[in-house]
Amino acid sequence: MRTVVAGITLVVLGVSLLYAAISIPFGYPAMSDMDDYFLAHGQEQTGANNIVTSVVFDYRGFDTLGEACVLFTAVSGVAILFRLRKKEEDYEYE
């Protein structure tokens, strides 16, 4: 039963991805006004030559704050998984 459901999801997602692959023109984006604004004004407003860094740290800096938090979550998650635990903390799951 599980393989049937998995097969259906695989086929459905495959068809939708292939349809998308055919219908999106590669190299000719439909609209690019936001990106042209970044390219045109990136240097004056943020002063950085590397526009990607200016987008990462200034225009969409809040994403990068979330980004650093994701990495910090992973570190604290790994830290509490490998911590030194006292013996009796485990709950006997029968």
Binding site: L10, G14, G27, Y28, I51, D63, A74
Partner: protein, 114 residues
């Protein structure tokens, strides 16, 4: 049609990753499937922002002014680091499961009935 080759590669990578995730029985292979899907999605995001005959959006000594779309690359950077973080957490959980169950086969690991 041949111009859309990158999106075809994306579709194949994501399907391969999903196949490994859904049909493989070993936990480590399932996590490999997840990282394959992540690679596919990152490639998809990058390929969305490409323009023909354009260079990377860096003005230091740039040969031409026709540049690729920068926002997508910022999204991909974030998505890659999220991929690293998820993989680190998933793999350390599998290590813990292996330490207690001494197996990584999904069928034996289901003490919790789903």
């Amino acid at each position: 049609m041949i111009d859309n080759l990158p999106f075809l590669v994306v579709a194949i990578t994501i399907l391969l990753g999903l196949y490994t995730l859904l049909f493989r029985k070993d936990l480590i292979k399932m996590i490999m499937g997840i990282s394959l899907i992540e690679a596919g999605v990152n490639l998809f995001l990058i390929a969305l922002g490409y323009r023909w005959e354009s260079i990377a959006p860096i003005f230091t000594g740039a040969p031409s002014l026709a540049m690729v779309m920068p926002t997508v690359q910022a999204l991909t950077l974030t998505s890659i680091v999220i991929g690293v973080a998820t993989l680190a957490l998933l793999l350390s959980m599998v290590m813990i499961i292996y330490r207690h169950y001494h197996t990584t086969d999904v069928r034996e690991v289901t003490k919790l009935q789903g």
